[in-house]
Symmetry: C2
Subunit: 341 residues, 2 copies
């Protein structure tokens, strides 16, 4: 499959390297409006790729079988609509959009044309998280009753991405979409959201701390926590902490990538580290490895004509939880995730 990469910023290098590891995929075209960033990407992908300054030109070129969109969030939906118009499947980085209504329209447009659309939610494709998901989905801990996903750090993320400090809606769209996707991956859809947010670090415009209390459709209770103002011991950045409890046991994923499974009276722990390739850099290895895993999943589903786990349609449910969380933080009520009106 011929991959067209759109956007050559902060995270694109991981996607480009990732595609080189995926059998059956090959980056044949790269697009960025900034010539310098474009050339840096070409240096990674190889000088035989086609260069584009404009995404529409790439989409209309007939040179790509799908596009991988790695641009800033506010541009995602316009690019998805352009892909739909050109009849090209798309993967898009998270968040799908900052605007739920816009996201719903873009997803609907792809679906109307029968075009696959996947959101690049790589947290759930990290190797130890896959192990946890296998345990839960395999029924090993019985009926899930509770889960907690926490991402709390004081890592200076503003050094690499200074614009984060100015976002009106910040951590819920930055890392919140990841952790809500994680809890949805284990407990399924959410029917009620309570939320408290805070802006702790001086000079930050939006919320840099958010805590969600969730009720899931299956009756389970969920807790989602994210904070960039958490000077916790042994700062786990960029890892998260997941606990899932069921009627017959529990499974815990710790930031050291250890997965502990309790079934009945027995307990078992394994540390799941990914294969470290030469281009990977600590502390990002497990994240970088997950990019390859998500790309493989996309390719597998594409060839099998199967819906991806984090399809556009699925990801709308995550965005609805995020919207409900903002509403709940403002209203002091538990809110229901719903479609935009």
């Amino acid at each position: 499959m011929r991959v067209g990469v759109i956007g050559c910023g902060f995270f694109a290098g991981n996607h480009l390297r990732g595609w080189q590891e995926v059998e059956g995929a090959r980056v044949t075209a790269i697009c960025d409006s900034d010539p310098e960033r474009l050339e840096a990407a070409v240096d990674i992908a190889g000088h035989d790729v086609q260069r584009f300054r404009d995404a529409d030109d790439m989409l209309g070129s007939g040179l790509v079988d799908f596009v991988d969109i790695i641009t800033p969030p506010h541009t995602h939906c316009a690019l998805i609509r352009a892909a739909a118009a050109a009849g090209v499947p798309a993967i898009v980085q998270k968040p799908l959009s900052l605007d739920l209504k816009e996201a719903e329209e873009a997803v609907a447009m792809m679906e109307a044309r029968g075009l696959p659309l996947m959101v690049h939610e790589n947290f759930r494709f990290q190797a130890p998280m896959r192990r946890l998901l296998d345990v839960v989905r395999g029924g090993e801990i019985g009926r899930p009753t509770y889960a907690r996903v926490a991402f709390r750090t004081a890592w200076d993320i503003y050094a690499g991405q200074p614009y984060l400090a100015d976002l009106e809606r910040f951590i819920l769209f930055d890392v919140g979409v990841h952790v809500v996707d994680l809890i949805r991956s284990v407990l399924g859809d959410v029917v009620r959201v309570s939320c408290e947010t805070d802006s702790i670090r001086p000079g930050i415009t939006g919320e840099d701390s958010a805590t969600l209390l969730l009720r899931h459709e299956n009756g389970a209770i969920g807790v989602v926590e994210c904070s960039y103002a958490s000077p916790v011991p042994g700062d786990p950045f960029p890892q998260f902490h997941v606990t899932v409890e069921g009627t017959d046991g529990a499974v815990v994923l710790a930031p050291d990538l250890g997965v502990t499974i309790r079934k009945g009276a027995g307990e078992h722990r394994e540390v799941i580290k990914p294969e470290v390739l030469p281009w990977m850099e600590p502390p990002w290895e497990v994240v970088q490895d997950s990019v390859i895993a998500i790309q493989r999943h996309w390719l597998d589903c594409l060839s099998a004509r199967r819906e991806t786990e984090t399809s556009g349609r699925d990801n709308l449910q995550t965005l609805r939880v995020i919207e409900a969380a903002y509403r709940a933080a403002g209203s002091g009520r538990a809110e229901r995730p719903v479609a935009a009106t």
Copy 2:
């Protein structure tokens, strides 16, 4: 000071042994309607104590300087009112009452007569928890912004207290009052409560799982979790997990009694184990030690005419959070802890 113990059930042995470690206190009278339980208590306290079958007789005897009430929850307030009428200070086991209005009336009656009243909330007097509180109150981690207190276990508490399975309102009054007291001890009063509850274990009448999302008066966000249906790895029973984050650091108390303090880039960990006396029994040592600590606190405050940390008045705030939690679980709204009307 001459101590009159009322109630000789499940936990009374710890109180009786505890008083023997507290300089300046001596159990001089014991009361229980059941002669067998009474004699078992006398065997611990010493055969020179006065025996009473009726609490009013003890309160009117002039033989005690204060009473230590260790009876079932529904009897607490009647006994406090009797103590008030007799002009006798009182410590009472948690929960102060299952009925907020009744609790407010009993507290008001003691206050009107200038009589000290303390609720025996021993979790916050556990040695490692005191260390954590010293760190927070000493300003070592800056302004507190977040705390989480979790008590999750699958320990078979029903074996020793089978009546727990039949309570309409269960875990929030059983262990919830403890963990809400803990989070109030670090973050202060609560202004908003969201709550989800569940009844997981088969055959349990009330809720055996409850999760609270709290907003505190100081702006901090709190999470309180309790569950008796949590088969988590390394079941921590009877210990809890506390994390407190502030603007300058964080402090974590783990169930192994380890206290980890992070200040700036530095980290320090210490395990705080209590002195184990011959009558103490694992896994209860740290709880049993805390009984002595709370008894000392009571005696210190009594002689200095100072209000105890967990006075009746203070503990009403905990009960108001519990009431608000039940309301929130029912209404799907965040609720405000308020006085009973």
